[in-house]
Symmetry: C2
């Protein structure tokens, strides 16, 4: 794929982007924000740019006058890059340039770098391996049995022992060997068991799956185990959402009648659908998939396995197991081959599960001297503090606000979700939606942007209540105050997309719980925010979050932006890396075992921290001096 | 149980027998044969004995005159021993006393002795073990997960590792632990996996099953794993019989449509019925059974597992596997607990299976200097020659004649089967049936007795053809010559029980194949019959066989009777011992691996030996000099 250099003016911001990339996305990736109230859907005509040199395709729509087109004006959202470019953003299209530079592209680079860093420690070595064998044909002189023939040839060719054969393989062995003219590919498990036998040389096709089982969302990636490349990824809401938004509600539901069975079926149905998606997209047959490595919080893994999670919730909060697990995937209803294994990454405690172990595995915390704060933001938020010598961890329930739950127009970060918001001095918003389609709702990142912008614009005060402001966008409906982010005719849902005062309350509770959790965890080991060398933000939300905005609302502690980095969906990443590296999967148990869990649920210090955090950004100015200063300067 | 001393006159044969034992059985056990054409059913009135001292109960039936009763006459079959006895067998009741003394009682003693011999080498140590644990209750301070709690307590109490837990156990773990107040019994597999968890202390109830899967018959024993005692045994025809009488016919059937599935279902149905029987008899729940150790010939184990046996039959005769196998019993449709394992003893080759390995394990051949010939007589006959340094083995198809198949009135050795026959000079037979019930047919042992007696009595000649003899019992029906062993009114089947000339041909082919197999095997290692130090006869047939009679017909080679011993159902015995001793089960593979198989099917030497053996006892007088001499003396 060709890449071109694009320089934006004013500011001479330079970025490299692939051919045919949309210019609005490139500008956003460069941290430059262009007015686009339609979300990049080529309808509002607001994202005008001037092509000063180079070539773009499209972009000359009817929204532009003939004169404008002649002068080089194009609509950024409709322009595809075809050469190196010099692009000027005219004043009318500029919104702000005060943002932190942490655009999607550079975040992706951080992940790639981490992969590279990790690959020097961990080999690309699948958990199950394939071996091709050409067996000598049996004769009256060489009449050892079929299975012994395989063992002998395997030893001769690879100098390794395959110690046993699965019953399902043994059952078809005689017919298969002869049909294959004694040329077969073995798939061998970590314990030396042959779990699959295929005709001919099938070693060139070997795939694994990685899965992050979140309370709200599930992600599945398909990996080519020959080169570690991710071939496709798909995600969806966890089908259990209908039975409760957080783990506590799920546990409660599981105690009713067939609740446990219902929840298990719901999650396996979602996973099965995602597996189907990723296989279809990459045109891979499920028979070629040897295993799935999954990570999830402890309640999610209990429900996936059909284990009663009741005692996770009742003091003293005991899970059935935190150990890594290997079972046949079909045993829990996953629609994979009879030979396909499900590996579950080990957890730490009832509220710090395999998703956190997985995320930590995906970082270099366990090999670094830097005191690191790792925060995974999801329906449950977990924090880990430590370095290569020690780690402590704690969990708190943030609720589903960040994943779009409970928020009136909340939604997951999919096409049409508002993910960037900028509010001008006239209270008018600039929104960018995922996929640049007409807006359908607001995702977690958009919500953080929005609330921060509303606070800075003076639409709301530090308690999260609406100020008296003169704008058609601020109104009261059925006694509830709301701000209109997009009017019905600009949206895909044919109604106004709004944020209400109760939505803001929800967000404050969610961010307050996370901030309080981090504070309490640090207190528990006698540390302060200032001791932290770096912060790694995990979770898909985290991946797209504006650090500045997250600090403004008090979700992240106030500190130098350069200390923040993003691992994205750490749980999925760790599962993906573990699927590629036997060594990493084996290290997981040690990593999980080295984390000390601090229980927050009955912790008085946590409750005090939480109450103090129910403010924007916080009740204590000394914790967010810059934010307070900036807010004051705007009045 | 009280025991009494019984002395029989004439001959002063002394035997110890339990109180209430039937006097006819005691005489038979002492090697004394009393006329009893009804088979011991208290109807023919022929088994008269005189009680010279001591007390019996019953026996004074209407068949006896008042005068006889007064003089101490009783019917042996109706008399129960109540004290030490002196018993005279009157001339009219005597049949023969020239028999070899190898009655059931002494044979059983040999088995017990073998068990004792073996127990010094092998410990009583089950393949799966039970452990009782009282776990400390979880607290906020001691909050490790349930499975880790078990591992920790197990290590503390037993200083052993349980490395994994079955998924079915893990699924119920949290609820079960709390219901059991954290007092549980673990069942742990050889690889360290916990396969069952029960509430409370269940270590006092632990059972195993042993199973011999014969082509014609299946035996199942229930064993108390705490003391190695056999609690109950049951047997039945292999349900596959309807689909072919020998392994070749079964293999042929398995190639038709759903044949393989049908055969698998048939055998598991039989085994399930036998398991039900033995559990019911001993009042043991199937949940208390940890495993079943089974031995069978290679075709039988393939069919049990549902593996296509086609290549067993086609040159170069390759089985899927000869290795020992451990699978969950329910996987092949056995009606046992979800945790219950099926262990299969390893085989040697396509026609020398786990039943032979099992039988060899049950003897001391692998620890003896004596050159031993081991013969297992069933539908397939297998022979092993060797000692602690080397072993060779060969198999030949004897056909089902010895198990009652193909013989017109053939039947298995169950109640009502004629098992002993003596023919007087008037061509009149004395028969004894199993259970002393009216005759239903002839079992293998009875058939050998019968043909030997017919040869000695001159009813048939050495070619197996009927001589011209003047007796109402010898007749021709529909062109086929036959000898009437019991007339309809004496039988349970309301028709004459006969043996025909084709029956005798069948028997000759069966015994000829076995003799030829043994000869060829010996030839192959440059040995002769005279080199053999001892002969061990296995198979249920073997257990009851009259050595003298078997030599007369040429089934066994002519040699000193004292060299013969009997292991009974060696396959079942070896499986039983292996179920009691982990060490023995582990030794099985080494034993199987140390046997060199000699293929007879395309062996010219075998064919020549076979043709020469189709004669009574053999075409070559020098091989059976004593039998020839004796036969000549009778003419």
């Amino acid at each position: 794929m060709k890449e071109y250099k694009v320089i934006f003016y004013p500011g001479e911001k330079e970025i490299v982007a692939p051919e045919n990339e949309n210019l609005l996305r490139v500008a956003a990736a460069a941290g430059l924000y262009i007015t686009a109230s339609c979300g990049g859907n080529q309808t509002c005509g607001k994202c005008k740019v001037i092509i000063e040199s180079g070539k773009v395709e499209g972009g000359n729509l009817e929204n532009l006058s003939f004169e404008e087109i002649k002068r080089g004006y194009r609509l950024a959202c409709a322009s595809k890059i075809k050469s190196d470019l010099a692009v000027r953003i005219p004043v009318e299209s500029q919104l702000s340039d005060k943002r932190v530079l942490k655009e999607a592209v550079s975040k992706r680079l951080i992940i790639l770098e981490q992969l590279k860093n990790l690959s020097s420690d961990y080999k690309l070595e699948p958990l199950l391996k394939k071996y091709y064998l050409e067996l000598p044909l049996p004769t009256l002189e060489d009449h050892i049995d079929d299975w012994a023939r395989i063992k002998r040839a395997f030893k001769q060719k690879y100098d390794l022992h395959c110690c046993s054969i699965s019953f399902s393989c043994l059952k078809v062995l005689p017919s298969l060997l002869r049909k294959a003219d004694f040329k077969v590919t073995l798939t061998i498990c970590q314990n030396g068991e042959v779990v699959k036998i295929e005709e001919g040389d099938q070693t060139k096709e070997h795939f694994g799956l990685a899965c992050d089982i979140g309370t709200t969302s599930i992600y599945v990636s398909l990996i080519n185990l020959l080169d570690g490349k991710i071939l496709s990824t798909s995600s969806d809401y966890n089908g259990q959402i209908a039975y409760g938004e957080d783990v506590i509600h799920r546990i409660t539901y599981s105690q009713k009648g067939d609740g446990l069975k219902t929840l298990q079926k719901a999650v396996t149905k979602t996973i099965n659908k995602l597996i189907e998606d990723v296989l279809k997209e990459a045109e891979v047959s499920k028979e070629k998939v040897s295993y799935l490595v999954a990570a999830g919080n402890t309640t999610m893994t209990h429900l996936l396995l059909g284990i009663n999670p009741r005692y996770i919730r009742e003091a003293p909060y005991i899970p059935a197991t935190n150990s890594p697990l290997a079972i046949k995937a079909f045993e829990i209803g996953l629609n994979l081959g009879e030979h396909t294994y499900l590996y579950l990454l080990p957890g730490v405690a009832s509220y710090v599960g395999g998703d956190i172990t997985s995320g930590i595995l995906a970082t270099d915390i366990t090999r670094s001297d830097d005191l690191t704060l790792y925060i995974d933001i999801g329906t449950n938020a977990e924090a880990v503090v430590g370095n290569k010598d020690w780690m402590v961890t704690a969990a708190c329930s943030a609720g589903p606000a960040f994943e779009g739950g409970t928020i009136k127009h909340g939604m997951r970060a999919t096409t049409g979700a508002i993910e960037q918001v900028e509010i001008g001095s006239d209270y008018e918003p600039m929104i960018i939606t995922i996929g640049h389609k007409p807006a359908k709702g607001i995702c977690g990142v958009g919500l953080i942007d929005l609330v921060a912008e509303m606070l800075e614009a003076g639409i709301i005060n530090q308690k999260g209540s609406f100020n008296e402001v003169n704008s058609a966008r601020i109104r009261t409906k059925e006694g509830i105050k709301e701000y209109v982010l997009a009017f019905a005719d600009e949206t895909d849902i044919e109604k106004d997309i709004v944020i209400t005062e109760p939505d803001i309350d929800d967000l404050m509770r969610a961010k307050g719980a996370i901030y309080a959790g981090v504070s309490t965890l640090l207190n528990s080991v006698g540390l302060a925010i200032s001791d932290i060398d770096r912060v790694i933000i995990a979770g898909n939300l985290g991946f797209h979050i504006e650090i500045e905005k997250a600090i403004i609302i008090g979700l992240f502690p106030e500190m130098d932006y350069s200390k923040f980095s993003f691992v994205g969906n750490g749980s999925l990443l760790g599962a993906t890396l573990s699927a590629c590296s036997k060594q990493m999967f084996e290290k997981a148990q040690q990593v999980a075992g080295s984390m000390t869990n601090i229980e927050l649920s009955d912790n008085i210090s946590f409750m005090n921290e939480y109450m103090a955090a129910l403010f924007l950004p916080h009740t204590e100015e000394k914790r967010f001096p810059e934010v307070f200063k900036n807010l004051r300067s705007r009045i």
